[in-house]
């Protein structure tokens, strides 16, 4: 792996929930002791179902939320300590799932992009600003006419292109993309994924791509981290994880993708029942209550990641 650009160390994020009228406070353990490194200019996919903690981890790594404990280092600088420094702030950007809520409906596209441009270059002249904004739109294949439109005059795909243009306006080195195509129609998804891949290549940006859609993960990611109930179950280079799957949970996910080429689909594992609560997650392996291959020892096992190949780690000591 290239030198890590951003490093999450032992991140925990607990959200308090009130328990009844008198009872004390309980905690939802959204992210529970997770470490993740992302190398320069690589795309790491963070895969998991709802309640896995992937969005929470993403927001912490983007510096939006503070972790309950642990730290995030960007080139060795703790991004959550003493507020975020301006130069770090601009190097980390985010793309959201729903372009309807990520673009202010009362602002024209020019003003939306202008916000980012003036942040990078305060006091920029109006005509230069328009020029920069036009260039940004060109980069995401949108016609300059769109500058004077409002978000509601754009389609979902076009809005997401604007969101991408805004994210790259500050020339970031790291972008957290939180399910950027889940809200889009299938025929539009591919356009946006291709655009992200090109932008990533041309600008040399590292991306944390949060998704549950294995097709796009397979297409663009270099590395995959699979999360379940606040823990990382498996991590490794994408092809390794898809071909030499190291965890039963990953295998159950891959089993739901019938069109995956035969060479990857050596498993047809189905998880059992419903995911347990995050308030009292199962002891031992978090997945053992739903794991089709669970055995007695899984109730006690320590969820430490074990190296099973080059850069390939799993939390399951028994499988394979």
């Amino acid at each position: 792996m290239p030198e890590p650009l951003i490093k999450a160390e032992n991140i925990k994020k607990y959200f308090p929930v009130k328990k009844g009228l008198i009872g004390g406070t309980e905690y939802v353990r959204a992210v529970d002791d997770v470490s993740l490194e992302i190398g320069e200019k690589t795309i790491t996919a963070l895969v998991g179902e709802s309640g896995s903690g992937k969005t929470t981890l993403g927001r912490i790594m983007a510096g939006i939320w503070r972790p309950t404990s642990g730290r995030v280092l960007y080139r060795g600088i703790d991004i959550h300590r003493d507020g975020m420094r301006r130069e770090v702030r601009h190097r980390i950007q985010m793309i959201f799932q729903n372009p309807d809520s990520s673009l202010n409906p009362r602002m024209k596209i020019l003003d939306i992009l202008g916000e980012a441009i003036t942040e990078a270059e305060p006091g920029i002249k109006k005509d230069e600003l328009i020029e920069r904004a036009t260039k940004l739109l060109e980069e995401v294949n949108l016609h300059p006419d769109h500058l004077y439109k409002y978000p509601h005059e754009l389609s979902g795909g076009e809005k997401q292109r604007v969101a991408i243009a805004r994210a790259i306006a500050l020339e970031p080195e790291f972008i957290v993309a939180d399910e950027p195509v889940s809200a889009l129609d299938i025929s539009i998804r591919a356009q946006i994924i291709n655009l992200l891949a090109r932008i990533q290549r041309e600008h040399g940006i590292a991306i944390l791509y949060i998704a549950h859609d294995l097709r796009t993960v397979w297409n663009i990611s270099d590395y995959v981290a699979v999360m379940y109930l606040g823990k990382i179950m498996e991590y490794g280079p994408t092809e390794e994880v898809f071909k030499n799957t190291g965890h039963p949970y990953t295998a159950t996910l891959l089993s739901t993708a019938p069109l995956l080429p035969e060479e990857f689909r050596r498993h047809s594992l189905k998880p059992i029942g419903e995911p347990p609560s995050l308030i009292n997650p199962p002891r031992g392996c978090r997945f053992h209550t739903r794991c089709p291959l669970a055995r007695e020892e899984c109730r006690e096992v320590d969820m430490r990641l074990i190296e099973i190949g080059r850069e390939h780690y799993t939390a399951c000591p028994f499988w394979r």
């Binding site: 179902e49 709802s50 389609s155 795909g157 076009e158 129609d185 299938i186 025929s187 539009i188 998804r189 591919a190 356009q191 994924i193 291709n194 891949a197 549950h212 294995l214 097709r215 796009t216 397979w218 297409n219 663009i220 994408t238 092809e239 159950t252 996910l253 089993s255 739901t256 993708a257 019938p258 069109l259 995956l260 080429p261 189905k270 998880p271 029942g273 419903e274 995911p275």
Partner: protein, 321 residues
Amino acid sequence: MPLLEVRNLKVYYDLPQGTVKAVDGVSFSLEKGEILGVAGESGSGKSTLAHSIIGLVKPPGRVVDGEIIFEGRNLLELSEEELREIRGREITMVFQDPNTYLNPVLRIGIQVGEVYEAHLGIEPRKAIDKVVDLLRKVRLTDPERRVESYPHELSGGMKQRVMISMAIALKPKLIILDEPTSALDVTIQAEIMELLIEMRDELGAAMIFISHDLELLGQVSDRLMIMYGGRLVEIGETEEIFRDPLHPYTEALINAIKYVRKTELPTLEGEPPSLLKPPPGCRFHPRCPKRMERCSQVEPGEYLVGSRRVSCLLYEEESDA
């Protein structure tokens, strides 16, 4: 005689900005025990189609033309009362979001029991044994305890199981499923799909399964219908369509769900059409990679190619019909 036959159905919405032709002349039929997948992007008209079969189109929407023949009777000519007899008993529906349909302040047992009350006149409390059996059938864990639960105590997957139990309670002949698993996680989704196929085998009920997820439809449906801009694009055996899509739009959709690594994903340029001002000629022509001059001038008819029906001028000549 097919179980259901829809002929030249047109459903329009009258909006201040103009008339939206959500479903514009769609015909298809469905045999007993068959699962028909209906695929399309948002704005294709697939949801409106489903709602019109069960008589749920309300103003500003209206059925402009066509026939919906269910077991020999045209549903569009029935009175609201006659329709209510059929709806909920012979034809049932499962919606995308169970939260909108489950009453948050009623226990599950009562709500499911209401189905028996409405159609068989059994008091919900007396139907409780039936309800437990039903919940066991949809493999809800611990059904004796679950009848006492409120909807918020159940996960999304469990709620959808409850919805399915209500849909199958009276052994309907046709179940319409409108994106029943789109809000669920993939592993839960897989379980629900398995359950649905099992129910079909057990009850022999036909299903119309609406989804934007072609990969999913490929797993469950016997036949597949693709819609675009309120029109039928292609209909035929699911396997055949996956093996050899005829319509360029179908082909693009099939390509879009293939797994390719680190190369550009095949794309379809442009955006779905506006239903207020649909493009002239073939509605797909502005995005079509195989468009010909005539495509913007002539509305394609529906042509039979083998056992498939396709609406594309490329097949005008080949047509057997």
